[in-house]
């Protein structure tokens, strides 16, 4: 029996080991070099720079970098030079928390932009709030991040004072999606699928709430594992349920094959949230035509306020596109820059000793015209800009269909 018990033991051990070892970290530090009488302020960037979601993550990194460079070139804050420290969180909460500790350990660092994933944000909020270090996410839509776990019952309570975001919440996004699907696309029977992550499950839940309220019918519900690529068993269930569309709470790496397998078997569209709104979704999915996604803000290409951002991004010559969160990231980084500016102006043009606490205080009062529109934060740290847009894949491209501010 020695063989068999060894076999079982090693299976268990290695499964655990392989899961754990997936959490290394790759740094992408930029060296800080203070010189002369200018002071250096580092803005941390946390996003998945490798792996499935790196298309979105690299867009975030580059857009934050662009904000810092623009502030330096325009001398937005006299006497202050901004630098970016970008860390890769691999979309994993455990890595995100390690990164948070690294950011906190860097004394020149006064604010962090990111992360992309709501699940990662959950692991970073507490250390940042304890360290009074401001964090602004351009992409987290999990409602509980700013409004506490009981927001559904109307009992809103801000859990972490150092957390802000330029993205709207899933409560708003799900409601907007349900409205669009029911009223504009006129779909009444929907099959609901999510990937069991905080983002996907939250979005699916808020979609369901509004959709049933409007009179739509959820004809079936299922969950998938986001690391799988074969969803045919679920698709077969969708087919026999008679659904006219599938709403998917999740991200494009699993969303793309799900959509394709859906079209292979039953010709109905897949609708998702901002996690699906990526060019890679279409690249990985040969049958994306007709799929719908919602995303926060307006397409930056259609905003006058974003023209300069797009032109600058192009001039800077980044290898990767700014993707869905480019504009929001720029605004998130800029809000930190504005806060630093206010703090420095209050302190005779120099950084105070308790700069982190002062920047955090200043964040509540930040208000400026950003890439995505007016930027300011409410008492929960949420953006006051609730503009949402629905996109549909037409001729192999995401095309915007409807933009609306949601109340």
């Amino acid at each position: 029996m020695r063989h068999r018990s060894l076999l079982i033991l090693t299976t268990v051990l290695t499964t655990g080991a392989l899961t754990l070892t997936a959490c290394g970290s790759r740094d992408d530090d930029t060296k800080s070099s203070g010189g002369g009488d200018t002071q250096t302020v580092v803005i941390g960037v946390d996003a998945p720079l490798t792996g499935d979601l790196s298309a979105l993550g690299l867009g975030i990194k580059n857009s934050a970098d662009l904000a810092a460079k623009t502030a330096n070139a325009d001398k937005t804050v006299p006497g202050i030079k901004f630098e970016i420290q970008a860390l890769d969180d691999q979309a994993q909460p455990s890595v995100g928390q390690q990164n948070a500790q690294k950011f906190i350990g860097n004394d020149d660092l006064l604010g962090v932009v990111g992360p992309l994933n709501s699940g990662v944000a959950q692991s970073m909020q507490k250390p940042f709030t304890d360290a009074k270090l401001t964090q602004v996410s351009p992409a987290n839509t999990g409602t509980e991040l700013t409004q506490g776990n009981n927001w559904k019952t109307g009992d809103k309570k801000r859990p972490y004072a150092a957390y802000f975001r330029t993205a709207t919440t899933d409560a708003i996004q799900g409601a907007f999606a349900a409205n669009y699907l029911f009223k504009n696309a006129k779909v009444k029977d929907v099959y609901l699928i999510d990937d069991q992550k905080p983002y996907g499950a939250g979005l699916a839940a808020s979609f369901k709430a509004t959709f049933t309220e409007l009179g739509g019918k959820i004809v079936g519900t299922d969950h998938i594992n986001p690391d799988d690529r074969d969803f045919n068993s679920v698709v077969t269930k969708v087919k026999s349920s008679g659904a006219k569309a599938v709403y998917y709470g999740g991200e494009y790496p699993a969303g793309a094959p799900l959509s394709q397998q859906l079209k292979d078997s039953v010709k109905i569209p897949l609708m998702g949230g901002d996690g699906m709104y990526s060019a890679d979704f279409i690249k990985l999915n040969k049958k994306a035509e007709g799929d719908i996604a919602t995303s926060v803000g307006k397409p930056v290409e259609e905003l006058d306020s974003a023209k300069k951002f797009i032109a600058d991004y192009k001039t800077a010559g980044y290898k990767d596109a700014y993707e869905a969160y480019g504009g929001g990231t720029y605004d998130a980084a800029w809000s930190i820059i504005e806060a630093v500016k206010a703090v420095v102006a209050d302190n005779d043009g120099k950084l105070p000793d308790d700069a982190r606490a002062k920047v955090l205080e200043a964040m509540a009062k930040v208000s400026f015209e950003g890439v995505t529109g007016p930027v300011s934060f409410d008492e929960y740290g949420d953006t006051t800009n609730t503009l949402m847009t629905a996109y549909q894949v037409t001729d192999g491209k995401w095309t915007s269909k409807l933009s609306e501010a949601v109340k």
């Binding site: 060894l6 299976t11 499935d52 969950h223 998938i224 074969d230 045919n232 087919k239 094959p257 040969k286």
Partner: protein, 309 residues
Amino acid sequence: MNELPQQLANGLILGAMYGLIAIGYTMVYGIIQLINFAHGEIFMIGGFGALTVYLGLPSGLSLLAAIPLMIAGGVICSVAVSVAAERFAYRPLRSAPRLAPLITAIGLSLALQQAIWMWYPDATKDRSFPQFKGEAIDIFGANIQRGDLFVLIAAPLCMLALGLFVSKTRAGRGMQATSQDPDTAKLMGINTDRIIVMAFAIGAAFAAVAAVAYGLKNGQIGFRMGFIMGLKAFTAAVLGGIGNIYGAMLGGVVLGVAEALATGYMSDVPGMELFGGGAWKDVWAFVLLILVLLIRPQGLLGERVADRA
């Protein structure tokens, strides 16, 4: 609409893919009692090898004509890496305690993943893989995608070839002898080192075929795809009786069908509404594994062999 034929087909296609990968685990384990955890990565490398060949071909070539070349490319890459791994990572440790090569295998698995991540162009995210155009084909009430036909044809052919090889050829019989008793086999003049390399190579070639099937089916491959598929294939090998090649294929198909049926029907069982669907399919697949191992500890087709001294 009756879902059953479709769910069975879904399970069969997935299971055939598990089975092809499981061959590699089972052959290596059968001969040197090593669980080659890097095998999932050998599978992944086969996929990237095939994609490389496809990208290098003239764009006018039809996919059907390209497939033999893609398989060849995938097989060459997989076999080369697998044989090199055997030579440099496992052979030096052959007389070491059994845990040492196992840990080496895990290290190798990570190293291979990271190597692809780092050096294959654009592999930090999923890469798109060519697929057949055209509608699904209806067979016995189940829709079969054109890409899925590949694995349904390739898997039985591969099994047939392997069965003939093992039972009819000299090398195949040498393999059986080595697996039964390596020391005696060596005394009888069998070059066991060569047999072991052969087992690694055959397993890698089958994994490469499975990787082409995976790409054609899902339209994308990525550097992490070997992890889950490898784990499932290993499960299939244990389920079917590790060390038995037919058991590996049977285990794969049983596992795939079990997953599909758990997704499709478990939530219809009264009292099980919460435990059905795609989220629980892996749980049910492993419950099945545990049940089978409780009743038949040697696996479905495994033989009860005396422990070696």
